[in-house]
Symmetry: C2
Subunit: 316 residues, 2 copies
């Protein structure tokens, strides 16, 4: 597969999934910059109207662009699909109809191998680790500009090297990226010490009112309309995870007042509980560790329902 | 120096500094366990009445003990002083009077080289990295029980691999410790997701009332006696650092009501400001990045004083 990248005449689309995270954006920018620096005609594409989340916008260089639509000459290009477990993650149109060749580079265990060529390794910490492996094999230079987004991808996907995917290989990749010029301290400050004041005020309100239920196994934060008004924002990013940090919490819940009732976001600590099952009866969804749904009643009705539903999962 | 550890007849005291942090405790336990497993007569000593901070207590195995006083036969032992920049960090009595041989293993730039033998490397991320290097050189086995405290030392001293000392070598050491059996996810949860509910409630109160001063360059949290009473704790650990996470903050301050007035803890974001200079006029102390002092007046008097003192440092 590295031969494809080393092929000097080849033109590329570097793409990643909708609703992108650090690994999606970081892998795209790292791969795209390495190919462009090596003289390959390369465009970045992302099937999302608002492609770069605000907390990752610092990664984009001035003038660097991620297209919301594929280029007109897509049919003549090789599409590198990064961090996409299935073709559907790239939008409604099958990537095989779009590009000349589809190369699928991903670390999700359940990847559907939708590419003409597939580099799928479920043991890799992140797609960025696979991109680094490919760049090395293709002999493309690892400059600081290439290394920095890959490092951000690695840090965010491994939860600051705190999740189970913080493997020896993930650490060795980090070592290589730092040797290429990445400075961990400013990157870490950009990622984790740049929360706007209004969001901090809202986080504070959620934590200051946190409730311990089910003997501490469930920790609940509640944000009513008055809290959003007082803080001046409705940005709840990271609040469920902060609630999960309470000692003894097996499930953390954030209930937000919405016009239809209460929007509940759930997070599991550890692998023992499947929180997506808790919200299923409300029509919600998600996966084992993180899920959400909307409860149509009042807060007084929500609390006993939530306690019962979480208890059923904890005991089941 | 590795020869000393490999010497089968030698008896050891493994020691570290007062007011110990993760690197002190982790390095001691790692070194002590490796020597004990290799059959060396080894005791752990720590010149502190309360030697292991609560958040690190999980590292101690059942029955594992860190002495508060040196053993009676200290004069016949080799003292391994870990993570001590000077002999004074081990207490009032000079270590050379205590033990037969003093071996100084440390990563602080300003280490005074007080040992009979000195392994001082200011470029090392942590003392744990040096301990790992020594164990390897001495051929002592790196079991999971030895690797886990060294890993905790590395994680805490590099700020989850987010500080400038998260070097390539630090990551390669982490890789080696994980290969020895450390599981990053449960360790990370123990370190960072085990905050007692009352401390979370107090953190919430500080964040919910955070004030932006000096055009956002100073972020201040205020905790009055009523806040401590409502939360049910006076544990402010980590609160100044959380305030520093506000976007734009160059200095974070936490003011706590105490009988004498207001105790102010300061943290700098980045290296541009020396916060110890801010509290010097109140008789406080600390270092560039973290300092504290007690202000004898009311909150109404504290605010203009703090704004003026911080502004002087920011502009100076």
């Amino acid at each position: 597969m590295a031969d494809l990248l080393a092929d000097e005449g080849r033109r590329f689309i570097v793409a990643s999934h909708q609703n992108p995270d650090g690994d999606a954006i970081g892998s795209m920018l790292g791969m795209g910059r390495a190919l462009t620096a090596a003289g390959r005609d390369t465009v970045l594409w992302h099937p999302d109207p608002d492609p770069v989340p605000a907390e990752l916008a610092f990664l984009l260089a001035p003038g660097e662009r991620i297209r919301a639509d594929p280029p007109a000459d897509a049919a003549e290009r090789t599409l590198l699909a990064l961090d996409c477990a299935s073709a559907a993650r790239l939008g409604d149109r099958p990537p095989g109809e779009l590009a000349r060749l589809v190369v699928n580079v991903d670390h999700h265990h359940d990847n559907t191998r939708f590419g003409d060529v597939n580099l799928v390794d479920g043991a890799a910490s992140s797609t960025a680790e696979l991109v680094l492996r490919l760049l090395r094999a293709a002999g493309l230079p690892l400059t600081r500009e290439v290394a920095e987004p890959l490092y951000v991808a690695l840090v965010t996907d491994t939860g600051r090297f705190g999740y189970a995917n913080a493997t020896p290989e993930a650490h060795r990749a980090a070592a290589e990226l730092i040797e290429a010029g990445v400075e961990p301290a400013p990157v870490s400050r950009r990622l984790y010490e740049e929360r706007p004041l209004d969001s901090v005020l809202l986080l504070g309100r959620a934590l200051a009112g946190a409730r311990s239920l089910l003997d501490g196994r469930l920790v609940l934060g509640v944000l009513a309309e008055a809290d959003f008004a007082a803080a001046g924002t409705d940005d709840t990013e990271g609040i469920p995870e902060a609630l999960r940090g309470v000692r003894g919490a097996e499930v953390a819940a954030l209930a937000r007042e919405v016009p239809e009732g209460w929007r509940v976001s759930l997070r599991a600590a550890g692998d023992a509980v499947d929180v997506s099952a808790i919200v299923r009866e409300t029509g919600g969804g998600g996966h084992r560790a993180a899920a959400g749904g909307t409860f149509p009643g009042s807060l007084e009705e929500l609390l006993p329902w939530l306690e019962r539903a979480v208890a059923a999962q904890l005991d089941g």
